[in-house]
């Protein structure tokens, strides 16, 4: 039965790596969205592993045009459906490079115009399709092929761009973050986005075993650790106001960092305490901003 379910609207047999967080996000998003959905893809890992001509993993109507223009293509589809009196929902599935970087103008235009679509960014925090180059979504100190750690570098020098805030500032009625580690929450958010009129955004944390450097069976555990350390926050924003946050008993960021080769240089050949403190400060700031900490009462002696 479970196998049958995995081969529903996003079929099995595609060419993603074992343990691919993005592939899991595609399965969950299509399952949440249902068959009356048109999926618009950007160029990227998911597009390539799911549609090598003449094979496709998509059992819903699916279109890929270019790297940067998914939001504009979706705008046109939404306009056409409206004119034809059709009721299908339009869902974009784009990676973080397509979303945070190259597609920014198209996204800004489409959100400002207020088209009725749902934009899902599967965020694996670098350009994985082209060989793990940094994007605007790459976290601080992650080593990528264009932000490599080296003798005088600790990797990526900038923190992650706050894309949800940018789209909330466009007046998006519903903006959320989600994680493949919490499938029910992710699917609820996708459904909420789809059923909210106007342009909605869901950013899904989707660990990449190849790009981040961990074994495929660790994907879910690592996605959970991102949340448990406060380096990824699951929240919902309705009309620009945060309405729901996933609270945690926070663990130190090292619990998350030490699981991945992209942060290995922070531990070997020697522990980089100042850098780790910097990353801990990012998590602390997240925790304060979103109020994620569950206060555990101190143990009585």
């Amino acid at each position: 039965m479970a196998e049958k379910k995995t081969c529903d609207l996003f079929d099995c047999g595609h060419r993603a790596c074992g343990g691919c967080g993005a592939a899991l996000s595609a399965r969950l998003v299509t399952e949440a969205a249902g068959p009356e959905t048109i999926v618009v893809a950007s160029t990227g890992c998911m597009e390539v592993f799911s549609t090598p001509y003449p094979e496709t993993a998509w059992k819903v109507p699916w279109i890929h045009s270019l790297f940067e223009n998914a939001a504009a293509v979706a705008s046109g589809i939404e306009a056409a459906l409206k004119k034809q009196g059709r009721k299908e929902k339009v869902v974009i599935m784009a990676g973080d490079g397509a979303t945070f970087d190259i597609g920014m103008i198209c996204i800004s235009g489409a959100f400002e115009r207020g088209h009725d679509f749902t934009y899902i960014c599967y965020d694996n925090e670098a350009y994985m399709n082209t060989g793990i180059q940094r994007s605007g979504a790459t976290p601080y100190d992650a080593s990528t092929t264009t932000s490599p750690a080296g003798k005088v570098s600790f990797g990526n020098k900038r923190p992650k761009k706050d894309m949800p805030a940018i789209l909330a500032a466009h007046g998006a009625p519903y903006v959320a973050t989600a994680s493949i580690a919490y499938p029910a929450d992710l699917m609820q958010k996708v459904q909420k986005a789809i059923n909210t009129p106007g342009p909605c955004y869901v950013q899904v944390h989707a660990p990449c075993c190849t790009g981040w450097g961990f074994e495929g069976e660790q994907t879910i555990a690592i996605a959970k650790l991102a949340i448990e350390t406060g380096l990824w926050v699951n929240f919902e924003m309705v009309d620009g106001t945060v309405t729901k946050v996933k609270k945690v008993v926070r663990k130190p960021v090292t619990e998350y960092l030490k699981t991945q080769k992209r942060f290995r240089h922070l531990f070997k050949p020697k522990l980089q305490e100042a850098e780790i403190a910097h990353i801990q400060a990012i998590a602390d700031k997240n925790a304060e901003k979103y109020g994620i900490d569950i206060k555990v009462p101190p143990k009585k002696e």
Partner: protein
């Protein structure tokens, strides 16, 4: 019905009569009057379309890609810098075989920035797979939109189409135009109903990637569609003529060419000036004629070769230049068509960035061609070089 109207408004009216469901465009001089008129039609309910006011040209054509794939007739218009910003989507739309029609109010390419007319913009995208129509006057610019949709949407073709008309020279000029009525337009151009589209009832994947095992054949098939467009242009161009009295079945137009010794080959609005110059040269006893190319893609190689087979020399006038080659795109194509023949073909680059082309320039070029001098920029200001 005959009316005196601006070129842009005539084109906009033709587009309205073609009933696109989605219009997506970004304003750029000298295309603006077209899209302003269309926005006005939508605002007043005389065009039942969704007008997407995109944030740039790349999105303009991208939205057309989405809407066309979803099964709607779509329209855009641009020129010059805007067309180049779209360039990636231009190839994409043709590769995906989407019958988008886009007007190009031809304009020069920067740098240096120029808002004035030449044909460098659309000509530079001649290899993308779009059909290229070039209008001589506003009547033709108007009529070619009906033909472009009809040919583009034909199941044997399924290619997007540029309808090119010279920026300012045509777009901002008032001329008499015989405009179709809605009933006439509907009798020629029927609702768009593609056999394949994005549809939850019949899910398909569009725009997949192709490995070296498949890609080569995709380009071949697109080229085959260009070849098949020839028959479609002939068929529907003739049908248009039968219905409305203006026949567009020919890819080229010959003007006083039958007994000509010197043939001029050109495209677009300069052909009006060339015809007047030819009349004066004929009056003076010179045997000069014109071969005007209306369809640049698919290029009518056989028709050009046949039409020029009897002349002594050919002067090809280009308002574009393929820098680093022997001349302009039309000259290169005509020379290809004339390969193996002993008739000399000389190219002349002129009118770049909106410089006027006068009758005396045409006469001067004919003189140069008779002397065997050509393959050059014509009319250079020596003091500026």
């Amino acid at each position: 019905m005959m009316e005196i109207t601006e070129g842009s408004h005539a084109v906009a009216e033709a587009v309205r009569l073609c009933r696109p469901q989605v219009v997506s465009a970004y304003p750029i001089t000298p295309q603006t009057h077209i899209v302003e008129a269309l926005a006005d039609f939508v605002a007043n309910g005389t065009l039942d379309a969704d007008y997407i006011t995109v944030e740039n040209e790349l999105s303009a054509l991208s939205a057309c890609v989405g809407a066309s794939a979803a099964g709607s007739r779509v329209y855009s218009a641009t020129t010059s810098q805007g067309l180049m910003l779209m360039a990636e989507v231009v190839f994409n739309a043709a590769g995906m075989r989407l019958p988008i029609v886009m007007s190009i109010a031809n304009r020069a390419m920067g740098a240096p920035l120029s808002i004035w007319n030449d044909m460098q913009d659309s000509i530079s995208l001649r290899d993308a797979g779009w059909l290229h129509f070039y209008a001589e006057d506003n009547q033709e610019a108007t009529d070619l939109h009906f033909l472009a949709y009809k040919v583009a949407e034909d199941p044997t073709v399924q290619l997007p189409a540029f309808v090119c008309f010279d920026g300012f020279i045509l777009s901002h000029t008032y001329e008499p135009v015989d405009m179709l009525t809605q009933e006439q337009a509907d009798s020629f151009l029927h609702p768009y109903n593609p056999s394949e589209k994005l549809d939850a009832k019949d899910p398909m994947s569009f725009g997949m990637y192709a490995t070296p095992d498949y890609y080569h054949e995709f380009r071949y098939e697109t080229n085959e569609a260009q070849n098949k467009a020839k028959a479609a242009i002939q068929k529907y161009g003739k049908e248009f003529g039968t219905l409305f009295g203006r026949d567009y079945s020919a890819f080229v137009e010959s003007y006083r060419l039958d007994d000509a010794e010197t043939a001029i080959v050109a495209m677009g609005s300069m052909c009006g000036t060339i015809k007047d110059a030819i009349d004066e040269m004929r009056d003076a006893g010179q045997k000069v004629g014109l071969l005007r190319i209306r369809v640049f893609r698919p290029f009518p190689i056989e028709e050009v070769a046949k039409a020029l087979s009897h002349v002594k020399r050919v002067a090809v006038l280009d308002k574009n230049v393929s820098l680093g080659s022997r001349g302009g795109a039309t000259a290169i194509e005509v020379r290809d068509a004339m390969y193996g023949k002993t008739i000399p073909v000389k190219g002349y680059i002129l009118g770049l960035g909106g410089r006027d082309i006068r009758k005396k320039d045409i006469k001067e070029i004919v003189k140069l061609c008779e002397k065997g001098v050509g393959d050059q920029f014509y009319g250079l200001k020596k003091e500026l070089i």
